[in-house]
């Protein structure tokens, strides 16, 4: 209780103000007490991730001459393929597929990215391309296996993630849709890696032809049951514009892309493009090709989602399959040592089931024979 002799009108006012201040503090302190502070979590995540840096592994696959290297250079605005030796046609008759990795460290606004591009020269180039995707699937499995071992090891501090996060598959624009080799490749890989099909060298197609080809390819992908990478659904509480963009993006697949590393002068500006006698194709012009959409999707919005799908879906599938194989093998071999704890399997042993089925069938057959003979004897007797 403040007791004061009010001597003055002004003093009285001051006192009232003081009282009011104290009272207001009493009232306004309550919400302050309820503020916990975990709203800063995203900032912390951001800070930590910037410090840790990111990594991304991108695989490019397709016949030679589809513009893969040019597109990669255009996407990341660097020159990855400095000294490349291209083979002659003669040397390519019996070529086997190789796997070549290029790793670069690039940085933008303090964010570091360790980018690995896995190249597959020789794919589809030989005259006999039977199983030419085998080296590629083997490579992907190898990376999964290595990660699996590292993850199950004792020292897990510095695990290097070499798993392939995304595979860009280049479809030639010269045909009427997917070819058998495209279908076989995608079917061999769709359960191991995120496949993003692209229409390469799209500057040989008019807008109508592009539309027809895209529809055709989408139809054939459905027909053959190929599971390409699906963009995640956007939340229902996002604003309309975002949803519209998202829908456009989804309807645009497969992206028709053009790549270029040369800068040309168009409409008074210096842009990346290709110079023809009849005009200039601008790579970053949305009405010319879908390069911008691809770049935004791949780098600016969905890079992390691609990594997540690889970790959560493809890698987990591989891991589950691997463990099941191992346990069934252990059950057969009866070996005691294993570095991984054995999980109880819910499915019964496939072998015994088979035996049981066989025996059942045998019994049935014998029963039938017996019945027949009894019938015959019965007939004979009569």
């Amino acid at each position: 209780m403040i007791q004061r002799k009010v001597t003055d009108f002004y003093e009285c006012e001051a006192v009232t103000r003081e009282h009011l201040a104290i009272l207001s503090q009493l009232f306004f302190r309550l919400p302050e007490k309820q503020y916990v502070g975990f709203a800063t979590l995203p900032n912390q995540v951001h800070r930590k991730s910037v410090k840790k840096g990111f990594d991304f592994t991108l695989m490019v696959a397709g016949e030679s001459g589809m513009g893969k290297s040019t597109l990669v250079n255009s996407l990341f605005l660097t020159d990855l393929y400095k000294d490349r030796k291209l083979l002659n046609a003669e040397e390519r008759i019996n070529q086997t597929v190789e796997i070549i990795k290029h790793t670069v460290d690039i940085e933008e606004k303090g964010v570091k990215l360790k980018l690995t591009i896995v190249d597959t020269p020789g794919f589809g180039d030989a005259v006999n391309n039977n199983e030419c995707w085998k080296p590629i699937t083997d490579y992907i499995d190898q990376q999964f296996e290595q990660y699996f071992r590292d993850e199950s090891g004792l020292n897990r501090k510095n695990i290097q993630d070499n798993r392939v996060h995304c595979c860009l598959y280049f479809i030639p624009p010269f045909g009427h849709g997917l070819r058998p080799v495209d279908v076989e490749f995608m079917k061999a890989l769709h359960e191991k890696v995120n496949i993003i099909p692209l229409i390469a060298k799209a500057d040989c197609l008019t807008p109508n032809e592009i539309k027809k080809l895209k529809d055709r390819i989408r139809e054939e992908i459905d027909k053959f049951g190929i599971k390409v990478y699906q963009f995640p659904e956007c939340d229902s509480d996002e604003d309309e514009e975002f949803k519209q963009l998202d829908k456009e993006l989804k309807e645009c697949t497969p992206f028709a892309v053009i790549g270029s590393n040369t800068v040309v002068e168009a409409r008074g500006q210096r842009v990346r493009g290709r110079l023809y006698p009849w005009g200039i194709v601008e790579v970053e012009n949305q009405s010319h090709c879908d390069f911008v959409k691809l770049r935004n999707m791949l780098i600016r919005s969905h890079m992390h989602d691609l990594k997540d799908v690889t970790c959560d879906v493809h890698y987990e599938n591989y891991r589950a399959q691997c463990i099941q194989e191992m346990t069934s093998k252990l059950a057969q071999d009866n070996r005691m040592e294993s570095p991984i704890p054995i999980l109880p399997l819910s499915t019964p042993d496939v072998e015994t089931e088979k035996l049981i089925k066989m025996k059942d069938e045998e019994l049935k057959r014998m029963q039938e024979m017996l019945n027949k003979m009894q019938q015959q004897m019965h007939d004979k007797d009569q």
Partner: protein, 478 residues
């Protein structure tokens, strides 16, 4: 200074002299006569288009001949390569052209393309063969013959910008000795000028280094040698095909409309379509036909006849008649054929006999086995049935005995004495036993120990005393 003398040996009787004419004779109209004859006859031209599905073969044909040949789009999923020839009758001014366009469907689509060239080579050979057959006929009508030999093969190269594909190289090597090949770069509106230049050089160097003979435009005729020579330097032609018309300036031209510009088909700075048309149709069509007949067909014919065993001169160095040898060969061949037929027939008959015998034996054996098996089963069943019958009889007997025993219970008292010991033992065993088990014991005893009784009456009595001393519960034996 040495001067070389050239001696021309001319047989005595023939002397070529050049004479000058006194006036206009008129045989300078010979070419015109030839021309009018061929115009009445009509011309015939066969084009083979080899290239991947969707590379633009049909569109280019439509553009070249400025018409719409009906063509459905081919699918990518053919099992192999097959050739689809289509014949059309075209007319321009008063010149008739019988044009055959042969399309390769399914080329380059399979995963294993090692055999892709075979159907093409086979087709070309078949056309040569047909012509050869016609030529060798006794009654032949070559002037009326519809010549289906391929005069030109347009090989469509995909515009990758790097080099030839391995399939291209392999196929062209197989075709270069059988047909005139003109390689062209398809869909050339996807390669920029500088890339195109490098690409053309690379392709030509690869062809040369692998010894692929492509068609060279003839430079021996002065009227066209200059243009042909310059065109030879532009190979392979980079073409763009289109049947759609686009308005450019105040003209409507055939072109492809892109967001960034319009590619005009007939604009020489845009693509080499005009050059191709000139070379193929306007200048060298006749030369192509001649080359096909004089070089490729003759090569085929020579190889084929040599294969059949013909030579130009027989062992006695006398030029021999083709007909005689042909007849002799034919006879021999037919004789061979007949012999082989006989052999095969004989073999067939033998085989049939063998199989018959086998089958018969098998059938007999199987019937025999079956019979044995059935017999065994029958005996088995019989035995079982016998057993059952015996069991049933025993049961019946036992039951009857019990019945009788139960009826004659009162008579059993005096006979108790000599059976007491037995009974007591039984009793001690069965003190608390249920009737079933005691009866079983009785049965057992009945079966195991032969009753020391002479007559059935006594036997029954023994049993009845056993029955009497056991704990009998109403309600059943078993």
């Amino acid at each position: 200074m040495l001067v070389g003398f050239v001696f021309v040996c001319v047989p005595q009787n023939e002397e070529k002299r050049n004479l000058s004419l006194g006036g206009h004779v008129g045989f300078d109209s010979l070419p015109d006569q030839l021309v009018s004859k061929s115009v009445t006859q009509g011309f015939c031209f066969n084009i083979l288009c080899v290239g991947e599905t969707g590379i633009g073969k049909s569109t280019l044909m439509n553009t070249l001949f400025n018409t719409m040949f009906e063509n459905e789009e081919a699918s990518h999923y053919q099992n192999g390569v097959y050739l689809r020839p289509r014949t059309y009758d075209l007319q321009e001014s008063n010149v008739h052209l019988k044009l055959t366009i042969v399309d390769t469907v399914g080329f380059g689509d399979q995963i294993n393309k090692e055999d892709s060239y075979k159907p093409i080579v086979d087709y070309i050979d078949t056309q040569f063969e047909n012509y050869l057959q016609e030529e060798l006929k006794i009654k032949r009508s070559l002037f009326n013959y519809h010549d289906t030999r391929i005069h030109i093969c347009l090989y469509f190269i995909a515009p990758t910008g790097h080099s030839l594909k391995s399939l291209d190289l392999v196929t062209m090597k197989k075709l270069d000795s059988k047909v005139n090949i003109i390689p062209i770069i398809a869909k050339a509106d996807t390669i920029s000028k500088s890339e195109l230049h490098k690409f053309k050089i690379k392709i030509m160097s690869e062809l040369v280094s692998n010894g692929v003979q492509i068609y060279q435009f003839p430079t021996d005729d002065e009227a066209v040698s200059e243009i042909n020579a310059s065109m030879n330097a532009h190979l392979p032609f980079a073409v763009v095909g289109s049947v759609e018309e686009v308005k450019v300036g105040n003209k409507t031209v055939r072109a492809r409309q892109y967001p960034w510009g319009v590619v005009q088909v007939e604009n020489e700075s845009h693509c080499d379509f005009v050059k191709l048309r000139e070379m193929l149709i306007r200048v060298n069509m006749e030369d192509l036909r001649e080359q096909t007949h004089a070089r490729h067909y003759e090569l085929y014919r020579r190889c084929k006849l040599e294969e059949m065993g013909f030579k130009d001169t027989d062992p006695d160095s006398q030029p021999f008649s083709l007909q005689e040898t042909y007849e002799a060969k034919r006879k021999e061949f037919l004789g061979d054929l007949q012999r082989k037929e006989e052999e095969m027939r004989q073999m067939f008959v033998n085989k049939v006999k063998e199989t018959e015998a086998e089958l018969k034996e098998k059938r007999e054996r199987s019937l025999h086995d079956k019979f044995e098996q059935l017999k065994r089963m029958h005996q088995e069943e019989k035995r079982k049935v016998e057993e059952k019958r015996r069991d049933l009889e025993e049961e019946m007997n036992a039951f009857n005995r019990k019945k009788v025993a139960a009826e004659t219970l009162s008579l059993s008292q005096p006979l108790k004495k000599d059976k007491d010991k037995k009974n007591r033992s039984v009793k001690t065993e069965n003190q608390s036993a249920v009737s079933a088990s005691s009866s079983k014991v009785m049965m057992a005893k009945a079966n195991v120990e032969p009753l020391n009784c002479q007559s059935w009456w006594q036997a029954i009595q023994c049993c009845t005393c056993l029955v009497h001393n056991a704990a009998w519960k109403p309600g059943g034996l078993f």
